[in-house]
């Protein structure tokens, strides 16, 4: 009879990914490429927001967009029409991106030639929040029709987000969205979270969002 041995491991299941993410962040810092990880539920307006931002910023910085979806190339095509470099990442059924997949995407998009890269994560409020992608900042979009209680329902997403964009504010009169309650709930999850209200459709708040990006790019390259 073989004897049973106990092997102590005590290893975080995020350890390998966290290490890869840290290395990637250092590499991007040295190359002066500012990467954001953009997360939200499907249909919150990630692509529409990016289009509005790219129109304002594309003449002052070199932008790249990596669109991650389970299938299709509609988002990458939409971004290419805006005149920015864009690629489509297919996750092959995976519900999130990790640092390894992000790095592969960056090689393909040639991040060393770019100032500002957006990783548009898979539309999902749960799994993407668990994995550090190596991005400099995590940004989460919450749209008015989704409801003000999302930060209460999906705690981790709002804990990891550096910036919360509340989108579709032009529709506020049709929904019972309590901005104060939403901001309070998001701040309970993360006291340092920055909140910007926009309508990607009407353009309201896009200047404030672009200023946030300009300042962060400057701080990253300092």
């Amino acid at each position: 009879m073989d004897s049973v041995r106990v092997i102590e491991i005590k290893k975080s299941i995020f350890e390998d990914n966290d290490l890869e993410a840290r290395k990637l962040r250092n590499k991007l810092k040295n190359r002066k490429t500012f990467l954001i990880n953009l997360m939200s539920s499907p249909g919150s307006g990630k692509t529409t927001t990016l289009k509005a931002v790219c129109r304002k910023l594309k003449d002052e910085m070199k932008i790249g967009i990596m669109e991650a979806d389970i299938d299709s190339t509609v988002d990458a095509e939409a971004m290419a029409k805006e005149g920015v470099r864009s690629i489509q990442l297919h996750t092959g059924g995976m519900c999130h991106l990790d640092a390894g997949m992000t790095e592969q995407g960056l090689v393909e998009i040639k991040d060393e030639e770019l100032d500002f890269v957006v990783l548009e994560n898979v539309g999902n409020l749960v799994c993407p929040a668990e994995f550090d992608t190596g991005a400099a900042k995590n940004v989460s979009i919450l749209s008015v029709p989704e409801g003000d209680d999302k930060p209460l329902k999906y705690p981790l997403m709002y804990q990891v987000a550096d910036l919360l964009i509340i989108n579709k504010i032009d529709t506020a009169s049709f929904f019972d969205f309590d901005f104060e309650a939403c901001e309070k709930a998001a701040k309970m999850r993360n006291p340092d979270i920055k909140i910007i209200k926009i309508s990607a459709k009407t353009g309201e708040g896009i200047d404030e969002l672009c200023d946030w990006i300009r300042n962060e790019v400057k701080a990253w390259n300092a």
Binding site: R5, V6, I7, I9, S12, I13, F14, C127, Q159
Partner: protein
């Protein structure tokens, strides 16, 4: 349903350590999981079973130890416990000063603690 996203890493770590130790078979796998990770034990077990199939850990027992959530109030340093899926978790306020500004002391763990092998 984010258990599947996490279980692949669990199986990778288990197989790696079992291989180094030249294990014939993994008998049990013990995980330490913080309550904040919001893992459903049954779902974790099902996903583990699916991913571990065909590996040295295929017949192992999965043992899940939960780590309670402990917060520390940033205003007055009081420590308090929090339970998810209760009224308290959607409106956490400090029992001493009434503010809601916390840092997390524990509850986000997700560790492969140890494995038993033969």
């Amino acid at each position: 349903m984010h258990e599947m996203a996490l279980v692949g890493n669990v199986v990778d770590i288990v197989v790696e350590h079992a291989t180094v130790a030249q294990a014939k078979e993994v008998i049990s796998v013990k995980l330490r999981i913080g309550e904040l990770r919001d893992i459903v034990d049954d779902m974790m077990e099902k996903c583990f079973r699916y991913v571990a199939h065909g590996t040295v850990a295929e017949n192992s027992i999965l043992i899940i130890e939960k780590v309670p959530i402990v917060l520390c109030c940033n205003e007055c340093n009081t420590t308090l416990h929090m339970k998810l899926h209760t009224a308290q978790s959607t409106q956490t306020i400090c029992s001493k000063c009434g503010k809601s500004n916390f840092k997390i002391l524990q509850g986000k763990e997700l560790y492969v603690e140890d494995i038993e092998i033969i």
